[in-house]
């Protein structure tokens, strides 16, 4: 099956996850992505040894999920952009590409000759895409950022996820948490730019910052603060339920698992919930007898709900609550996410074959076209496709070796 971006050529000069993840999404959508890696060090991502305390290498195998996620479906060329001998190759790659994708900082872009003007001078129609920490304008345009700094800390998520008075700040729940969603955001921007180019002939510069993505994700509270004209009052969540709804919040089961209830209209779901859990008496309890009473006495109702749910194990609640119309979910760990029946039924976990021929599984990007999941191929090894790409550009074996002798290509 050809993806919707089949035939689109993307040239990526980027490292780590945020911008490479955009390239991975475009590859999932059918684009042909060539990734330029530093001729000696490769993508700095290849040096990551631990994330959130977890070892990230697969012992005795080339399979490296930290690289596979943001780089599947690409080809890798090792090119020393700071070596003038590599310039004709880069020029030809730019000339034949539809999209130029980078997260290099302005100083590095200028030094390496990959600033907007330099790239457009070679290919006036190319869509020029910059991912950054803090945007291309303003006092921090030259400053680098990671998702933990620009997206999570600066973008409001860290404060929002940390309870008032907590001993420790809540860190991102997964490595590259903001980068992954940020990369998807960039991919969407590129798709719109390609549509404009196809329909009007005009190309675009596409800019996405991790700070902007962070503010977009926390916009409900940021917008409230804006309306408030100042910081929102510190609000401690009750131990159970929420301030006005006993059927919204997290509850523990007898076996220590969490259930997340989100039945936003408590008056509607209370009778059904009480009947399902075997407590029809609570429906007529005067404290909870109508919506207004239930919301006014939410704390008392939540105590009762907590006692009920703590009395039986998860497996029983899956059965009992499976029959109610209100929304709720089991809180799943990462392994359970990977095994999720609905996720798998929709192609959310894809198989790739690693360099040793072993089938492996990865999370698919979440946009699906034509009711079928994308077919993925593994991420490239460092500079795996240098020779193949250089030959496609018309270089002879002698020219290819000459580039390697002077260290311009790997």
């Amino acid at each position: 099956m050809n993806g919707p971006l089949s035939g689109v050529r993307v040239l990526e000069v980027a490292q780590y996850t945020f911008v490479p993840a955009a390239g991975a999404v475009l590859a999932d959508w059918g684009a042909e992505v060539v990734k330029v890696e530093h001729a000696e060090r490769g993508d700095a991502q290849r040096g990551i040894v631990k994330l959130l305390g977890h070892d990230v290498y697969s012992q005795g195998s080339s399979f490296f999920p930290v690289m596979e996620g943001p780089n599947r479906g690409k080809r890798s060329i090792g090119l020393a952009l700071d070596n003038p001998a590599s310039r004709p190759v880069l020029t030809e790659l730019i000339r034949r590409s539809d999209v130029f994708l980078t997260n290099y900082l302005p100083g590095a872009r200028a030094k390496l000759g990959i600033e907007l003007d330099a790239v457009r001078a070679i290919n006036p129609d190319i869509v020029y895409v910059r991912g950054s920490g803090f945007g291309q304008r303003g006092p921090e345009a030259d400053k680098g950022g990671y998702d933990s700094t620009a997206f999570w800390a600066r973008g409001g998520s860290a404060a929002g996820a940390t309870a008032p008075g907590a001993e420790r700040l809540t860190r991102m729940p997964s490595g590259a948490y903001g980068d992954c969603t940020g990369g998807m955001t960039i991919a969407g921007g590129i798709a719109a730019a390609l549509y404009k180019r196809a329909t009007t002939g005009e190309t675009s510069v596409v800019d996405v910052s991790l700070l902007g993505v962070g503010a977009w994700t926390t916009q409900f509270t940021v917008n409230l603060a804006l309306m408030n004209g100042g910081p929102l009052p510190e609000n401690s969540r009750p131990k159970h339920g929420s301030a006005a709804n006993p059927l919204s919040g997290s509850y523990r089961t007898a076996d220590g698992r969490w259930l997340e209830l989100t039945m936003l209209q408590p008056g509607r779901y209370w009778p059904e919930f009480c009947a399902a859990v075997g407590r029809p008496d609570l429906v007529t309890d005067p404290r909870f007898a109508d919506t207004a009473a239930l919301m006014a006495n939410a704390a008392a109702a939540a105590e009762v709900v907590a006692q009920i749910l703590a009395a039986r194990p998860l497996a029983e609640w899956i059965d009992v609550l499976g029959k109610v119309a209100g929304q709720w979910a089991v809180v799943q760990n990462s392994w359970e996410v990977a095994q999720d029946e609905s996720l798998r039924a929709n192609g959310g976990i894809a198989t790739v074959v690693d360099a040793e021929g072993v089938p492996r599984e990865l999370v698919a990007s979440p946009v699906q076209f034509d009711q079928a999941p994308p077919e993925l191929t593994r991420a490239p090894q460092f500079a795996e496709h240098t020779d193949e790409v250089l030959r496609e550009l018309g270089l002879s074996d002698e020219e290819l070796i000459a580039l390697k002798i002077v260290g311009a290509a790997t």
Partner: protein
Amino acid sequence: MKAGIGQTLTSAVDATTVVVVRWPDADLELTCGGAAMLDAKDPTAGSGTPDPAQSAGSLLGKRYVDEAGGVEVLCTKAGTGTLAVGGTPLVIKTAQPLPASD
């Protein structure tokens, strides 16, 4: 031998040809298929058969390194013999990223 940077060496027993990229200030023997490699301009071109136990081969355009000794060569003509320094096979050079952790 003490090879110089940019010097071309050829195998005495197969088609392998390499260009020296790094060579420490030391006298080392680079072998291919068990036989010492020769300067490409050496008129006494070698003849012989490769050691069957040393037939890992080399790939065109790949860099091979001896991680301990500091030798690095670039394969400019592929062959069947194993490249080795002092009996230790060279390995294909991989990315050298700086270790990172969050």
